[in-house]
């Protein structure tokens, strides 16, 4: 087991920081004392075998699950007790492994809602009416995202009718429209072929370089992880078993054991 680096105190630059996160379902501890940091300007990877607790960690980060123990800080603020909408308004966006698109709406509407939902927030009047500056901002952000993800030609198609590869891109475009400072991407490559995956990776790397946002990526596809992540965390049975560079992961016995089972190590 690799020694864990000490967690820095919560700060503005640290982006997303989770400390000593523990989540149990019934008697089963899905995530056990996990601490990790996903700062701005960096793509951080979170990998591990099925059932290691990656998605559970993600859900705790975005506020869909309340941790039993531990805390979540976003840009230096403690958001552990806040709901998903409030975290999103602080700058945390996410995609879903299952691409939770608004299937009955067009691609363009889906993408536009990335910003519109955030602008509407929790104020009844703002939810009812959109002022002109909002509309202009939403239109501009939507166009930019559609362009970035190459979805311009599909803008009028209903999202429910798209193939998986395009759905992934709509999910990504939607979260990019929101202008979030930190993105949680949940297994974006599942269901994509090699060239689609490569393209997806390129878009994400490009956005991080241009906008300076941070990304926390949960991923199975090791080629994608190795090519775009600068820093990796490896989870197994709810515990962090490795933290370090992609090169370090390749040489780690602990990671090999986690994936192949301890008898193989």
């Amino acid at each position: 087991m690799t020694a864990m680096t000490a967690q820095a105190p919560p700060s503005e630059d640290a982006g997303l920081q989770i400390t000593d996160l523990t989540i149990a379902f019934g008697g089963n501890t899905a995530v056990d004392g996990v601490s990790l940091t996903a700062p701005r300007h960096r793509i951080t990877g979170l990998i591990g075998p099925n059932g290691a607790g990656k998605t559970t960690t993600f859900n705790a980060c975005s506020g869909l699950l309340r941790p039993g123990r531990g805390s979540v800080h976003l840009f230096g603020r403690d958001v552990t007790a806040r709901g998903p909408a409030s975290r999103a308004r602080l700058g945390l966006g996410r995609t879903f492994q299952r691409m939770e698109l608004f299937d009955s709406l067009t691609v363009e509407r889906n993408v536009a809602l990335g910003l519109e939902a955030r602008l509407a927030g929790s104020h009844p009047l703002k939810q009812l009416l959109s002022p002109r500056p909002d509309r202009t901002a939403v239109r501009a952000a939507t166009e930019e995202s559609l362009e970035l993800c190459g979805l311009g030609g599909r803008r009028h198609d209903p999202a429910g009718a798209l193939p998986t590869g395009q759905r992934r891109l709509v999910d990504l475009a939607r979260v990019l429209t929101g202008g979030f400072d930190l993105l949680l991407l949940d297994e974006p490559s599942s269901g994509l072929d090699t060239s689609e995956t490569r393209r997806f990776g390129a878009i994400v790397a490009n956005v991080v370089a241009e906008r300076g946002c941070g990304v926390l990526l949960v991923e199975h596809d090791m080629s994608l992880v190795m090519s775009i992540c600068e820093h990796l965390y490896v989870l197994d049975f709810g515990r962090l078993v490795f933290e370090g560079s992609p090169e370090g992961v390749r040489g780690s016995e602990a990671v090999r054991a986690a994936y192949l089972g301890s008898e193989a190590a």
Binding site: L64, A85, F102, D103, Q127
Partner: protein, 656 residues
């Protein structure tokens, strides 16, 4: 203590029957994912069938009982099982409307055929009185309670000991196991529907001697089973039976407590709904719905925006000429305009935001009562009173929306149904609403009080209401609502406070419904809650869904159907049978719609069922555990995709 004892025993005897009915309801819900709103109607149908065969046709009672409680429910069970299978992953609204439609059809047919007046039910059980520890008890009541208890015990034994029962129990415990059970799925479902329908039928026949043969009352009395099912959290069968006993005892005790108080007289019969509402509110997110629903599929508009605008203007023009030809039927058309507003406000909730509310009639009634208090009691100008009546309905709408924050889909529908019934039973006759007489005066505006002038006032309101709803649908809120119908979780992770959205749409809908209530009262020049029962809420939903293929024109057609069509009907008989047509029509639309959705290419390609099941937060802790354990076992036991993938990754790494 001796004062309470008789009520306790009465409570236990009726409670035992409620418990039996509720167990049937929960069993079918847990195995099929369809909550049977027609459960009470099956009870009523069986009771009437027994009456018909035994009292009218003179069959010996054991044979009549066999046919009414054994054969007839079995036939219905076959129908319900097929229906449930077709609805397996329909939208929530369609799942609800299908059985609501069946209920309306059965109850409507009973009312039309046997009349609305209660009939004396033949005493087929011995009616002698026995004295137990100083209490006089009807032998028939004791036997009824005994039969219900024996059926419950027999069912528990079957559930514990027989092979089928054990498999059924596994499915009730974790409905997802049904898929793992493979070929026996159909058998388990069929048996569940059979047992569920038998329990409903038996409880109907046992309850009828106590309350008389009244189709509406029987349908709604077995609805008491909802309360019992809620106590069992729609999941545990023994707790559900216990819930039936609790409801029976509470109702009996409440009856003894409020005896003599006019104001509280409505409380005891409303108690089960209070229990239902409170349990849903408190248990909230702990209630996990069975099965999966697909979100509403994309529905292309029938007409281009421009064409529909032209059509709307044309409709307005036709409506403006109605006083020229309507003659004595003008009040009917006036009512149609009021109902247009009612259906439009319901449409906003059900179609635009995908939330099913069964308390809508209550909101209309609140508007009607508030209008009378404001216009007559306080003497406010007419227009101000109408608008304020709408405003009064808003907080009530917000209260209905409270369950919407914590509940969704089916449980929201049940919660609002409970709320609507509570409002009707407890509040309608209170001084806050229509008072003990049930009727209040309601004026028309002085300058425009003639039928023709007032018709144009209503037309102006209806047009404004439709424009308002069109604006809301096109506003940011409309876009958010449509997205929310697909995936509320995603919207909240994008930063939207979805609880605010839900409450906002309920408030807007309540405002329009409240204004409609005020206008209804003003049209008839008296405010009464009589037409605005919880049963009306069910009917409206069914009628609206019946016309759902007409998209945004549905409220117009629905309003015409419930007001104008009966006025031109061939005779009373035809009008009596109309609810049956509504009910069956709504049921067929729901079934047809879900079949059409399944055939839609987008849905098949993306596997909505699986997505919905794995939707964040939808998986129960137990399922999560199961998946984790299975995954671990798979990782340990055999080479998996993950293992292959990481080795592939390593390979790439070394090559570089």
């Amino acid at each position: 203590m001796t004062d309470i004892l008789p009520f306790l025993i009465i409570g236990l005897t009726t409670g035992s029957i409620y418990g039996l009915a509720a167990m049937g309801l929960v069993l079918t819900y847990k195995t099929s994912g369809i909550f049977n709103f027609a459960h009470g109607a099956i009870a009523a149908l069986a009771a009437y069938a027994f009456y018909d065969l035994h009292a009218m046709r003179g069959l010996p009672w054991p044979l009549a009982l066999l046919l009414a409680a054994g054969v007839l429910p079995a036939l219905l069970a076959v129908l319900l099982e097929r229906m449930a299978r077709r609805l397996a992953d329909a939208t929530v609204t369609m799942k609800i409307v299908a059985t609501v439609g069946l209920q309306l059809a059965i109850t409507g047919a009973l009312l039309a055929h046997y009349g609305a007046a209660g009939l004396p039910f033949p005493d087929f059980l011995p009616v002698a009185t026995v004295t137990v520890v100083g209490l006089h008890l009807g032998l028939d009541q004791l036997i009824s309670a005994g039969i219900a208890a024996a059926a419950a015990v027999a069912f528990f034994l079957f559930f514990r000991l027989s092979r089928l029962g054990v498999r059924m129990r596994a499915v009730v415990g974790d409905p997802d196991l049904l898929e793992l059970a493979g070929t026996s799925a159909v058998a388990i479902r069929s048996w569940s529907w059979l047992i569920g329908s038998w329990f409903a039928a038996v409880s109907g026949i046992l309850l009828a001697p106590q309350i008389g043969l009244d189709a509406l009352l029987l349908t709604l009395l077995v609805v008491q089973a909802y309360g019992a099912a809620a106590i069992g959290l729609f999941s545990s069968l023994p707790l559900t039976y216990a819930g039936g006993l609790v409801i029976g005892v509470l109702t009996a005790l409440a009856t003894s407590l409020v005896a003599g108080s006019e104001a509280l007289a409505g409380l005891p019969p409303a108690l089960p709904f209070l229990v239902l509402f409170l349990v849903l509110l408190v248990a909230g997110r702990r209630l996990v719905e069975v099965g999966s629903h697909r979100p509403a599929p994309p529905s292309a508009p029938l007409l281009r925006p421009r064409a529909s605008r032209v059509l709307a203007v044309a409709a307005l023009a036709v409506a403006a000429t109605v006083p020229l030809f309507a003659g004595a039927r003008l009040p009917v058309y006036a009512n149609a305009l009021v109902f247009l507003l009612i259906f439009a406000s319901l449409h906003l909730l059900v179609r635009v935001s995908g939330q099913v509310s069964l308390a809508h009639a209550g909101l209309v009634a609140v508007g009607a009562a508030a209008f009378s208090h404001l216009a007559v009691g306080t003497g406010l100008p007419w227009l101000l009173a109408v608008l304020l009546a709408g405003a009064v309905a808003v907080p009530v709408g917000a209260a209905v929306a409270v369950p919407a924050i914590r509940l969704s889909g089916l449980f929201l529908a049940l919660g609002t149904f409970g709320f609507g019934l509570l409002l009707e039973r407890v509040m309608y006759r209170s001084e806050f609403m229509f008072g003990t007489t049930g009727t209040l005066p309601a004026p028309r505006p002085e300058a425009l009080s003639s039928d023709t002038a007032f018709y144009y006032v209503l037309l102006a309101f209806a047009a404004c209401g439709m424009v308002l709803i069109a604006l809301i649908t096109r506003s940011r809120l409309g876009r958010l609502l449509r997205a929310m119908a697909d995936s509320p979780t995603t919207l909240s992770t994008l930063g939207l406070g979805i609880n605010v959205t839900r409450v906002t749409v309920f408030c807007l809908s309540a405002f329009i419904a409240g204004v409609a209530g005020a206008l209804y009262a003003s049209t008839g020049q008296s405010a009464t809650g009589a037409p605005f029962t919880a049963y009306a809420s069910l009917t409206w939903l069914a009628v609206l869904v019946l016309f759902s293929p007409a998209r945004s024109a549905a409220p117009v057609l629905a309003a015409l159907l419930v007001t104008v069509v009966p006025a031109y009907g061939a005779g009373d008989a035809a009008v009596d049978w109309m609810p049956v047509v509504f009910g069956l029509g709504a049921m067929l639309v729901a079934l047809h719609q879900s079949a059409a959705d399944r055939a839609a290419p987008g849905n098949a390609a993306t596997g909505n069922t699986g997505r919905a099941r794995e939707r964040i937060g939808a998986a129960s802790a137990a399922q999560e555990r199961l998946h984790r354990t299975a995954n671990r076992a798979a990782v340990a036991a055999a080479p998996t995709g993950d293992r292959l993938r990481i080795t592939a990754g390593d390979g790439e790494g070394t090559e570089r």
